[in-house]
Symmetry: C2
Subunit: 222 residues, 2 copies
């Protein structure tokens, strides 16, 4: 299985590298970072440069296309080269996947029309504007399209994808190799568990430009 | 807070990028990838190149030094430039941290003598050979030294470190921004939960060179 992960300026590093690590550890799987041109692509924190090893045209038909999110997606929805590549790749892919607001990019490419999909908790509802059906779940599978919630959800998604595309034993073996036995020190990873007072500060950390596009869930006590 | 993450050939990408993403999202925190020389450093799967933005000498005294693991650590334990930098950085650091077999590098630099520490489940016991006290836990704090279990444990460790170095509210806010509400599709992330039959295949995924250095836990039914 050949996986292509497109990078664009302002992607969130863990969105790309979580699934990369899971899938690149799987026997027989190869992952390639792609972009408009070969070379380093800067992340949303502007402190990390990950090298795109191939240009889009070099990998037109990967078996799996996996789109990371990040504040840069706000600009990437207008990147016609990326959107065209996504459409072409999706037409032939076995699986098309996203992490976080990567689903917004799939939606902008017209690939989620009528499909159930998820994304980062604050930007999930916005998928409806593209004709998708937003689902409040960590990983959503609709046909060959697999979408994940925010950032760290890409690890869960990649294991679920691996189990479907290979088998459960392979996914469990990778999980053990990566010692993925998570124990978050706090129960604050979703708007359901975190205090409402942290919602806006969390969005501000992602970036003011993103915060303007957020749709906050309804607080439990409302 | 300025965090330096050293990269060496054959590091595991998620070891570095999990904590990077957590800490780089924290207000007032800056993370820099360092190496012997500025430029791309290749990971253990040989499919990812992450750019070191500074040479060791340029960042001699970071507030936090955070060492990733990976099969390349087997060679890096003989990299005197890295070990010297670690010793100097540790002498002045507020916090010294590691993920996975990054703790073996700290140990090889002489920084874990008499200290409680953890690491990847298959390589944790080997820390005793350097005079450390191996602990079966996901995150271990001993003074200013914070060590994490394998690969994905770096995310838990970075949140725990952030809570101590800044405060719990900051850590929770980052956790919510990254939607770190993990839901592994399988319960196979530790040798306690995974079938014993997967232990050896998991080590083989990491790499044959590493598997030769593993110390397997005692099976529960033994």
């Amino acid at each position: 299985m050949h996986v292509a992960i497109p990078l664009y300026p302002g992607f969130t590093a863990l969105d790309a590298v979580g699934p990369y690590t899971v899938l690149a550890f799987a026997p027989g799987w190869t992952v390639t970072f792609v972009a408009g041109a070969v070379g380093p692509v800067r992340d949303d924190r502007e402190r990390l440069n990950l090298v795109a090893e191939a240009a889009y045209a070099q990998i037109a038909r990967p078996d799996v296309v996996l789109v990371p999110g990040g504040p840069g997606a706000l600009n990437a929805v207008r990147d016609e080269e990326l959107l065209s590549w996504l459409r072409e790749a999706h037409e032939h892919s076995h699986w098309t996947a996203s992490v976080c607001v990567g689903s917004t990019l799939l939606a902008a490419a017209g690939l989620l029309t009528g499909r159930r999909a998820t994304g980062h908790w604050a930007f999930r509802a916005g998928l409806a504007g593209f004709g998708a059906v937003p689902v409040d779940d960590r990983v959503v599978v609709d046909g060959k399209v697999v979408t994940a919630a925010g950032v760290s959800a890409g690890i869960d998604m990649a294991l679920a994808l691996l189990a479907r595309a290979s088998d459960a034993t392979t996914a469990k073996t990778v999980q053990l190799a990566l010692e993925y036995d998570p124990r978050p020190p706090f129960d604050a990873g979703s708007p359901q568990s975190a205090p409402v007072s942290l919602w806006r500060p969390a969005l501000d950390l992602i970036g003011p430009s993103m915060a303007d596009h957020a749709t906050l869930p309804t607080p439990r006590n409302a």
